[in-house]
């Protein structure tokens, strides 16, 4: 297989994960900067484009890492990722939004608690729903679990959209047996089809204020305004700093998950993935291990959802369609299930190439060639082909790039499943063993770094 040769050739260079990650990220960023140069972006445009790219690499990397715990380590086929993300961000909104009386334009309020509390609540509730799904569903076959989880995520979306949960009125006082609670909230709810306006303090601002960094940060913004970007640099810098924050979170996810994977707990998970009956026969309570792994992964997906949507200004139910779940799956499969580095790289490549890339290609083509307006529908685009005029068709294709992007994703997924189902780094899938299982002196000896991770050859 040519991929083997390739791996052999590059193994010396890319044997360290950091090098590999930096190389991939560097390539993607370089491509985006060059595209920016081609568009004639100024500094502001470049920074915006980089911040946007960083955001998507961050969120997809994070979600792919969380999914890797489910699928790559434990072999749980969860295609309800977006449900847990939605639960996370909706709970955060519900807890942290100010009450309607103080909230300005928002029709639906929340409990007005600090954002930190909201985020913790969101993560915990996402984990609890993970428990709710996992308790009955984990004994199912993988394909049944898939159908149950995707149905679950759709039920969550129907709940978000439903008029029944749109608003509730919170009574002024709630009498609990010994003491009385006096909530500040008046009207709370999920907002129905219109969604929720996230009118709590900006997450970045809240974090910086908590860390007493807000004053220095504003000073820095002022400095940039004086020296580099004269008009209103704050949104750009906000975006960049939020991107850096996301990368820090990705790092934390990575640390947590690779520590988990290497722990005895993680070894049991891998054993379950390989053969649940054997793990069971060795005296492991596999149900409990699967449950814990599922809940942890769901909570992390909730956090991923919060970090994705909580700085967006508003959330609406259509953002939580199953497509997002499949995006995360494609990212994981590109990177290679079973490898944490692979998951992150998959997220980065997915975000940079498949998710954001087509739009840049379209803009590049439009910048390079002065093209007119695209035809309104496929018929008008194809009709001129009869007289050998492909321009309208090309224009229509470029104009529909946001749909074709999904076609490309589908084709890439099929191609991967045909040619490289183990993904970029899936060959390094860790085995359920604490010691090196590779044959000493064999062909793996030359590939020592990979062997240290288990070196399972497929």
């Amino acid at each position: 297989m040519s991929a083997d040769d390739l791996r052999g050739r590059f193994s010396g260079l890319f044997e360290r994960d950091v090098t590999l990650a930096l190389a991939v990220l560097g390539t993607i960023y370089l491509a985006y900067v060059l595209a920016g140069v081609a568009f004639g972006y100024g500094l502001r445009g470049q920074l915006n484009s980089i911040a946007n790219l960083t955001f998507y690499i961050g969120v997809f990397g994070m979600l792919a890492l969380a999914l890797n715990l489910h699928w790559g380590y434990t072999g749980l086929f969860n295609i309800g990722v977006v449900g847990f993300m939605g639960i996370g961000v909706y709970v955060t909104a519900l807890v942290s939004k100010p009450p309607v009386a103080q909230g300005g334009a928002a029709q639906v309020g929340g409990f007005g608690l600090p954002l930190g509390v909201g985020i913790v609540a969101g993560v915990v509730v996402a984990g609890l729903f993970g428990l709710l799904v996992a308790l009955p569903a984990l004994r199912l076959r993988a394909d049944y679990l898939a159908i149950v989880t995707v149905a679950f995520s759709e039920i969550i979306r129907f709940t978000m959209m439903s008029r029944t949960f749109q608003t509730f009125t919170v009574p002024d006082t709630i009498d609990l047996w010994l003491f009385t609670v006096d909530p500040t909230a008046d009207t709370v709810g999920l907002g129905g089809g219109g969604g929720l306006i996230l009118n709590y303090p900006d997450p970045l601002e809240a974090l910086l204020r908590t860390l007493f960094l807000w004053e220095p940060y504003m000073g820095f913004v002022g400095f940039v305004q004086r020296t580099l970007i004269p008009n209103n640099p704050k949104p750009v810098i906000d975006g960049l700093v939020y991107g850096i924050l996301l990368f820090v979170c990705v790092g934390l996810f990575y640390l947590l998950l690779s520590r988990t994977g290497k722990s005895p707990f993680g070894r049991v998970l891998k054993a379950i993935r390989e053969d649940e009956d054997v793990a069971n026969a060795l005296g492991k309570d596999t149900d409990r291990f699967k449950l814990t792994a599922f809940v942890l992964g769901s909570a992390l997906m909730g956090l991923g959802g919060i970090l994705w949507y909580s700085s967006r200004g508003s959330i609406t139910p259509p953002s939580f369609r199953p497509n997002i779940t499949f995006f995360v799956w494609i990212a994981l499969i590109i990177g290679g299930a079973g490898s944490n580095t692979g998951s992150f790289l998959g997220g980065a490549i997915f975000a940079g190439v498949l998710y954001e890339g087509p739009r840049y290609v379209k803009n590049l083509v439009e910048t390079a060639f002065e093209l007119g307006d695209a035809p309104g529908n496929f018929g008008e685009a194809v009709a001129p082909m009869a007289s050998f005029d492909p321009v309208p068709f090309v224009l229509y294709t470029l104009d529909s790039v946001s749909q074709l992007r999904l076609v490309i994703m589908g084709v890439v997924l099929i191609w991967l499943m045909h040619n490289r189902p183990e993904g970029l780094l899936g060959h390094r899938k860790e085995t359920a063993s604490s010691i090196d299982l590779s044959r000493p002196g064999g062909e793996d000896a030359s590939n020592a770094a990979a062997a240290a991770d288990g070196g399972e050859n497929r």
Partner: protein, 370 residues
């Protein structure tokens, strides 16, 4: 199974499964709410009848589409997530044909073939309907079936056949890729808008009297019943009277064994796709004719209900798929008596989840034909 065995089994279930008791309690509460609602007049018999009628028709579509899914699920051993988009493809191909036949002469061929993308032609204006343009509808249904068969065979040849021996999960993931590519190609060609496809006002209808009112039956309801019933009967005969059914059963049991006993497995797989995709395409067309609107997402939105039906009926059983489809369709429609109408589909999913938990082999299992 003897009665005492059954009794012991159920007693054990009750002891071990606190969830089961919960389900039974919910069922009792629902029965009570329905009876008392009917008794006090809170629920009108006619509106109940109309919900049941709607659920039954929806169930027939789900069942018809489910036969194909069930067959591929048991014979090729994977859950085909692209099945819903096969349905959409059939609907678009069939509707394009109907538009072309009904509207040729007065409208541009391109607009007709694109099923009026961007509001260039309206189905109501050219009078699509089983009574207003019967030839267009019949040919549309045929083309829907044939083109879906062609599509399914093409996809099978280039996508599924090279990885036939992979695990069911690998095929499932691949089918998600197929679903994406197909759905958004359809959107690319036909546009994202949801269009009205039939002359809804001129479809003949009769009001059937129920105790305290009437419910409506249209000509499209009747044609759906005729087509679905006829096709289901046809499949039943095909699988009963030919060796194909036996070969399919053998294959879903053990493919290697089937091959060494001389069953041409690839040919059986091809026949499976032909039967399954043909039914799915026609189901898609009848669905669109019946509900009167067509969008690129229709099949995907129906897919989970079809899965629910197939799992409910037991994977591999065509009677199970039909029965499951009717149960799921009825659940999605009739459940609005007890819960807010937004949760009709959610209720159908819940029924599926409950079945998976208690009887993952399906309620009609053991009566498989294919």
């Amino acid at each position: 199974m003897s009665i005492s065995e059954t009794y012991v089994r159920y007693r054990r279930t009750l002891g071990e499964e606190p969830l089961a008791i919960g389900v039974v309690l919910v069922a009792l509460w629902m029965a009570w709410a329905l009876v008392s609602g009917l008794w006090t007049g809170g629920i009108r018999v006619s509106s109940l009848a109309s919900l049941v009628w709607d659920g039954l028709l929806r169930g027939l579509i789900i069942g018809l589409a489910g036969i194909g899914l069930s067959m591929t699920y048991s014979i090729l051993n994977f859950a085909n997530f692209a099945h819903g988009d096969y349905l959409t493809s059939g609907a678009f191909a069939g509707m394009a044909t109907s538009y072309l036949i009904a509207g040729i002469g007065e409208n541009s061929v391109g607009a007709l073939l694109l099923v009026g993308a961007g509001g260039s032609v309206f189905g109501g204006a050219i009078g699509i309907g089983v009574t207003t343009s019967p030839i267009a509808v019949v040919l549309g249904a045929v083309v829907a079936g044939v083109s879906t068969i062609a599509l399914a065979l093409l996809i099978d040849r280039f996508v599924y056949r090279p990885i036939r021996d992979e695990s069911g999960i690998a095929l499932l993931i691949t089918s998600i890729g197929v679903a994406f590519a197909l759905r958004y190609l359809i959107q690319f060609v036909f546009g994202a808008g949801v269009r009205g496809t039939t002359a809804a006002g001129s479809v003949p209808r009769i009001d059937v009297p129920a105790l305290d009112g009437t419910f409506r039956v249209t000509a499209h309801d009747a044609s759906l019943i005729v087509v679905a019933g006829g096709l289901m009967l046809g499949v039943h005969l095909l699988l009963q009277r030919t060796k194909l059914g036996k070969a399919m059963r053998a294959m879903s049991d053990n493919e290697d064994l089937a091959r060494i006993t001389g069953i041409p497995t690839e040919r059986v797989i091809r026949t499976t796709w032909i039967v399954g995709a043909g039914l799915t395409g026609v189901a898609g067309y009848m669905f669109v004719l019946w509900k009167g609107t067509l969008g690129f997402n229709d099949g995907w939105l129906l897919l989970l209900l079809v899965f629910a039906a197939v799992i409910l009926g037991g994977i591999g059983s065509i009677y199970g798929a039909i029965g499951g489809g009717i149960v799921i369709g009825l659940t999605a429609s009739v459940s609005v008596i007890w819960i807010p109408s937004e949760f009709g589909r959610a209720a159908a999913f819940m029924v599926m989840i409950v079945i998976l938990l208690f009887k993952p082999e399906g309620i009609f299992s053991g009566r498989t034909t294919a």
